[in-house]
Amino acid sequence: MIQFILRRSLVMIPQLILLSIIVFFLASAMPGDAVTGAFQNNPNVSPEQEEKIREKFGLNDPWYQQYGRWVSKALQGDLGMSYTHKQPVTVLLKDRLSNTLLLAGVTLLVTYLIAIPLGIIAGRWQDSWADKLIVTYNYVSFATPMFVFALLMLFVFSFQLGWFPIGGSVDIRAEGGTFDYYISKVKHLVLPVLSGALLMTYSTIQYLRNDIIDTKFKDFVKTARAKGVPENHVYTRHILRNSLLPIASFLGYEITGLIGGSIFIETIFSYPGLGQLFLNSIMLRDFQVVTALVMISGAAVIVGTMLSDIILSIVDPRIRID
């Protein structure tokens, strides 16, 4: 088991190196650089001055020098300076990363809290009115674009009813560590989380429903019924155990999906997370920040996939680990 986890982790190293090279090249291939981004609307800076600044920051060096510099610094925790924020990228990322992780984690939790019971009900009582209702919800949620839904939520519950704050991650007046501070955090989370979760339940519900319908008449379930196991236990002990297994293993992928998918939600709810930062940095061509962010989300995909593999190998006895 430990050997498997170790080996699985080792595989990540070449993946990460490859990722970093790709990210670096994509970033430098973007039209314009930090200098154009920072001074494009400033008539006081002449092209000659721009060129001097480029020279000073090493932007004219060959790619491998730039890449080497970037990697060795990154390994020391220095991801460079953001030209637009005039702050180290690491500092810039720190708070936002924890915000995004909080948002993603809670969204995932709420998604499962909604999707798993609904999927089970729909699968177990297939073709009942409850099933039809759930399937309808599923189609609607699948078809609804997230930004439309999120704007609607914002409009109704913040502007019209005023129940929740319009943006931000916490009330600036709240003092860190107090009870009010946490309440404020929760209040700021409600709308972004619900907007994400209500639309994300689709795949889990659909998957669970189909799998339960499929498993219901499998041979081992017949065996269970032939033993005289009451119907509720047939579900809890036999069907669900098998049907929930793949969902546990999707967990890793879901997390990465959420980090990538946070762009819309964070932008609409002005939630200070990575997604929002990402969008802003692209617009301002903040090379260092964008590279760091793409690198982080890429690494998240790699780690998430590994997590999925490890979870699956733990929960499923059929996967042999030697």
Partner: protein
Amino acid sequence: MSLLKVNNLKVHYPIRGGFFRTVKDHVRAVDGVSFELDKGETYGLVGESGCGKTTTGRAIIGLNSVTEGEIIFEGEDLVSLKHRDRRKYIQDIQMVFQDPYSSLNSRKNVLNIIAEPLRNFERLSPTEELLRVQELVERVGLTPESIYKYPHQFSGGQRQRIGIARALTLNPKLIIADEPVSALDVSVQAQVLNFMQDIQEEFDLTYLFISHDLGIVRHMSDRLGIMHNGRLVEEGTRDDIFENAQHPYTKRLLAAIPEMEPEKRIDKKVLREEVNRLYREQHDAYYSEDGRVYDLQSLTETHSVALQGGAKQ
């Protein structure tokens, strides 16, 4: 000269293990099998699951790669030939698969299924192709209009006939039939077996008949080979095997055939116990220390059995 001569055929698969997934050992799926098929005969290859009989058949037709050995078809060693040169020999060898439900592409109609080998190997005009397919379809006992139907519209027996028709399109000399009737109902089994015997005569076919069912093999084969652990334990004519089995594994297989006379049930049970006891007691005379079957030794001109003392390889 024999039509097919398989000489010391080996098919090994690597087992990987350890931290760097290096090759630790090999699964010896087929481990030195030799036999010959004469033109027009049916050779039965018998054994239980995992004995290597299917791998042997698939290796002959090129679906499994050969680790070592020769497959000499009409005097030419197929193993040493380049892929391109193999083609002209390979169209003389066709395969009929076990499961008529999954071995036919469900999205193609019968015309396209049967014509596929023709399109791969021969250039015919659409009309010629159609005529050839219709002829075959009628020969296997299906109505001419069935060429526009899809596999799911047929019963299991009919599907197996389609599979056979596909195998016949190129006028092959050898047909490798891998458990061709195992997935079929008893009475349908009999229909297909009768049919296979009919076309054998008509098309002058040689069969390599792979099966786990001794009753069927006995009915179909002139000679047979019994496989165990990737090797032949006994080979002989039908009478050699069924009337005069020597190897304890063959005896065990024969004793496993259900007794058709209800009065003899108890005797059969006693016989099985006896045979199993023999199998344990004589094990060392017939298997080496690491469980490998010894090489075949001739008892008579037709009958040979794997015994200790066979020539070392």
